[in-house]
Amino acid sequence: MKVTFALLIIIFLAFSGYHLTFRHFRLPLFARIFYLTGTEFLVLGLLLGPQFLNLVDPETQKGLAPVTALLLGWIGLLFGFQFEIKMLRRFPLEFFFGAVFEGLITLALVFAGVYLTLAICVDIPDSFMIVVAITLAAAGGCTAQTGLAFLSQDQIATRQNTVKLLRFISSIDGLIPLLVFGLCFFYHPSTSLNESWLGGLWPGILTSFGASFGLLLLFTLFISHRRFQQELILVVIGMTMLTSGLASSLNFSPLLTNFFVGFWLVNLSRDKERIYQILMTVEKPTYLLLLVFLGVCVRFDSIGLVLLALVYCLYRVFGKFLAGFLVTRLNTELRKYPGKLGFGLLAQGGLSLAILLDFQQAFSSRVSTAVISFAILAVIYNEFLSYYFLERLFKKGG
C-alpha cells in the first residue's frame, strides 16, 4: 500500500514540478483554478500526513513546529507590511470604510451562523465553541486576490474602478478578522473556564503590546547598521523565530504578533524595502509550504465534514454578498460601485489558511483537526465559486 502511495506521490511531485517549471502551459479552467490556488499542495500534504503515507507522522510534526512557527510569523510579517500608512493614504477614505466594514460584517454573520450551527449539531464545550466560531469567522472574513487573476484584460479595462476597489479590499480586509482572531488566545479553553474573559484580556493585551514593543526595539537595533543581504536574511529569520516563539510560549498567536512587528517596521524602518524584498523572495514557497503543512493536519474520516464545509461555505458566501451590498449602499461615495460587489470577494487565500494553521497549532485536538478539515474543504469550494461569481460581476451589461 505504502509503495503505491509513494509512487503516487512521486508522480504528483513530478507534476507539481512541471507546473512550477512551465507556468504558461494552457490548462482547462478546472485545472487552472486547481493550480492557481495551489490546491495540489494541500493534497500533497494530505498524502504525506498520517492519514495516508504517514511520512510526516505526529512526532515529525512536533519536530517541525519551529518551521511552522517561522512560516506563520513570515506570513504575519508580510501582512503587516501591507499596512504602510504613507502608501495607504494614497487611496480614498471610502476604500478603507469599504474594506473594514466588509470584513466586519462578514465576520459577524459567519460567526453567528457557525456558532448556531455548532450549538445545534456538535457536542463540544461552550468555551471551545466560541474559539472555533471566532476562528472560522476570521478565516471567512479574509479575501484573496487570486480570483482577480482570471479576469481578462478587457474585463479589467472596462471596470477599472471596481477592480481597483476589489484589489484594495482583498489586500486589507483581513485586518479586522485577524485582530478578532487574536481574541481566541485570551479565551484559551485551558485557562478561561474558571476566569473572567475580560479579566484576562487586559493583562494579555498589555503583555502583547509590551512584547511587541520590545521586539520592535530589538529589530530596530539589529538593522540600525546597514547590513549585507546575508546578514539581513539572518536578522529577519532570527527575529521572526524569536517573535513567533515568544508568542507561542505566551499562548498567543505568532501570526498576529508578527503582524504587529511588520506593521511597525514598514512604518518606521529605513530598511523596509530591503526587508520586504527578503520577505517576498520566499513568498510563494512560504504559501506552498503553508498548504502542505495544512494538508498534513487534515483528516477526512467522516462524510459529515463535506456537509459542514458546504454549510460554512454558504455562510461565508452569504456574508460576503450582504457585506458587499451593504458597504456600497451605506457609504455615499461607494454607491457608484455595483451592489453585487461581494461577488468579487469570494476567493479566500493565504491569510485564511494561515489563521487556520495557527488555530490548529495552538488549540491542537481532535475537534480542531475536524474543524480545519472542513474549513479547508470550504476554502476549495470558495475558490471554484469565486470564478463563477466574478464572471457574473464582470459580465457585459451586468
Binding site: 517549471t21 519551529p66 547598521h225 539572518l234 529569520i237 515568544l246 507561542s248 520566499v282
Partner: protein, 451 residues
C-alpha cells in the same frame, strides 16, 4: 586602545541588543510551560535567540580579531546545558534537525569549493600532506597515550590490550578534521589561494579517508581483544561499496542539481536547502531499510554524497558560480545555527574531569600536525612562511570525531566511557582553539580578502 575607539558606538549597540535579548530569554524561562504548543514555542524562541545572540557576540569578538565561528561557539557554550542551561540537553537534541540540515548544506558547500583545476595543480602536495598528517597524528597520539597510560597507570581497570585498543582508536580519531569549520572561516575571510586550497583539499579528503581508517582500526581492535579472528573482508567490501556508492550517488545528484539550474533556475537557495535535507533523511532511511530487510549495514554517507554532488556541479557543469551563489544566500544563518549548537553540545563536564590528559593529547596531536605539515612543506617546496603556519589550519575538530567515538563506544562498551569522555574533552579544546589559529594562519599566508 586608539585602534578600537572607532568601534565604541558599535559595541554600545551590540551590548544593548544582547542585553535586551538576554532579558527576553530570562523572561521566557519564568513562563510556566504547559502545552505542546508552548513547548514548541520555547524551542522556536531558543533557535531565534541562538541565531541572533551568536551573530551579535560574533560581531563583538570580530572587533577583537577572533573568527566569527568562535563567537557562535562561545554563545553556544554559554547558552548550553553546562553553563547557563538556557538550552537544555533535550532541546539540543530536538534541534538536531537543524543541525543535520546544516551539516549536509555545509558538505555541499565543501564540494562546491573544491575546484578541479586547483586540485590538479596541488594534487601531489595534498596527497603528501594527507599521508604525513595521518601517519604523524596517529603515531604520536597512539604511542604517547599507550606509553603514559602504562607508565603512570592511568587506567588501572583496563588490561594492556584494552589500553592498546583505546590508544589505537584515539590515534585514528586524532586524524579527523572539521571541514565545516574550515569552510566557515574560509567563507568569512573570503580566503583564496594556494594555501587555502591545499588546506581545504586535505581537510575534505581526510574526512573521507577517516571513515575507511576507522573501520580498519575497529577490525584491528577486535583482533587485539580476541573478539575477531582476522580481517573481515565482508566488512571491507561493504565499506568500499558504501564509499563508492555515496560518491557515485553524489555525482548523479550533482548532475540533477545542474539540470535544475539550467531548466528551472528559480528559488535555487530553497531548492538546495530542500536537497540537503532530503539527502540526509533519505540516507538514514536507506541505511535502516538495508539493515532491516537485508541485514546489511551498507551505510550511505550523506556528507560524502553532498561533497560529491557539490564537486560535480562546480567542476562538471557550467553552473558552478550560480550554484555557489545560491549556497551563499542562506550560508550565514546555517553556519550560525550549526556552530552555536556545536558549542552547546561541547561536553564541559568531560573536560573538567579529564583536562590534564585532554590537554596532553591536544599538545601531542598539535605536535604531530606541526611535524607532518613541516615535512610536507619541505617536500613540496612550499614557501617557508607556509611551512611555519600550516599546522594552525588543521587543529579544528568536530562532529565526525564525536560520531566515531560513539560508534566505538557501542562496539567496545568496556572502553566506551573512557574513549568518549576523552574524545569530547579533546574536541572541546580543539574546537575552541582551532578556528582562532586557522584565521591567524590565513592572515599570515596573505590570502584573506575581506575582514
Amino acid at each position: 586602545m586608539g585602534r578600537y575607539k572607532q568601534y565604541i558606538p558599535d559595541l554600545k549597540i551590540y551590548g544593548i541588543t544582547l542585553f535586551i535579548l538576554a532579558g527576553f530569554a530570562l523572561w521566557i524561562k519564568i513562563i510556566h510551560i504547559e502545552s505542546n504548543w508552548q513547548q514548541a514555542g520555547l524551542t522556536t524562541f531558543s533557535l531565534g535567540f541562538i541565531l541572533l545572540a551568536a551573530y551579535m557576540a560574533a560581531q563583538i569578538l570580530r572587533i577583537a580579531g577572533l573568527p566569527l565561528i568562535s563567537g557562535y561557539i562561545f554563545v553556544g557554550i554559554l547558552a548550553g546545558p553546562h553553563i547557563s542551561g538556557f538550552l537544555t540537553h533535550d532541546m539540543v537534541v530536538r534541534l538536531r534537525l537543524a543541525d543535520d540540515l546544516a551539516l549536509s548544506f555545509i558538505a555541499l558547500t565543501a564540494g562546491g569549493t573544491l575546484e578541479l583545476q586547483f586540485l590538479r595543480k596541488r594534487g601531489k602536495a595534498i596527497l603528501i600532506n594527507i599521508f604525513l598528517q595521518t601517519l604523524f597524528a596517529f603515531a604520536l597520539v597512539f604511542l604517547s597515550f599507550f606509553f603514559i597510560s602504562n607508565r603512570l597507570n592511568l587506567m588501572p581497570a583496563l588490561t594492556k590490550p584494552q589500553i592498546m585498543v583505546l590508544a589505537c582508536l584515539l590515534g585514528v580519531i586524532a586524524v579527523a578534521r572539521s571541514p565545516s569549520s574550515a569552510i566557515a572561516i574560509i567563507n568569512e575571510c573570503r580566503a583564496a589561494g594556494v594555501f587555502t586550497t591545499t588546506v581545504l583539499g586535505v581537510t575534505v579528503a581526510i574526512d573521507v579517508l577517516i571513515i575507511v581508517m576507522f573501520t580498519l582500526a575497529m577490525t584491528v581492535s577486535e583482533i587485539i581483544l580476541g573478539a575477531g579472528t582476522g580481517v573481515d573482508f565482508r566488512m571491507v567490501t561493504v565499506l568500499t561499496l558504501a564509499v563508492t556508492g555515496s560518491l557515485a550517488l553524489g555525482i548523479v545528484l550533482g548532475k540533477g542539481i545542474s539540470l535544475y539550474i539550467s531548466k528551472v533556475g528559480h528559488d535555487l537557495s530553497l531548492f538546495l536547502l530542500f536537497f540537503a535535507f532530503s539527502v540526509f533523511k533519505a540516507s538514514i532511511w536507506f541505511n535502516q531499510f538495508m539493515e532491516a530487510h537485508f541485514a546489511i549495514s551498507l551505510h550511505l554517507e550523506p556528507l560524502l554524497i553532498c561533497i560529491s554532488a557539490g564537486f560535480t556541479v562546480q567542476n562538471f557543469s557550467r553552473y558552478g558560480y550560480i550554484f555557489m551563489e545560491g549556497m551563499e544566500r542562506f550560508a550565514l544563518p546555517i553556519f550560525v545555527i550549526f556552530f552555536s549548537l556545536a558549542g552547546a553540545s561541547l561536553n564541559l563536564d568531560a573536560l573538567r574531569m579529564t583536562w590534564p590528559l585532554a590537554a596532553f593529547l591536544f599538545i601531542i596531536r598539535t605536535m604531530g600536525i606541526f611535524g607532518s605539515t613541516w615535512f610536507a612543506g619541505i617536500i613540496n617546496r612550499d614557501p617557508p612562511q607556509h611551512r611555519r603556519i600550516a599546522w594552525m589550519a588543521y587543529i579544528t575538530q568536530a562532529g565526525v570525531a564525536i560520531g566515531l567515538a560513539q560508534l566505538a563506544q557501542r562496539r567496545f562498551p568496556e572502553l566506551g566511557d573512557y574513549l568518549t569522555t576523552l574524545v569530547l574533552a579533546v574536541i572541546t579544546i580543539n574546537q575552541v582553539v582551532g578556528p582562532i589559529t586557522f584565521k591567524i594562519a590565513l592572515k599570515r599566508a596573505g590570502e584573506v580578502k575581506q575582514e
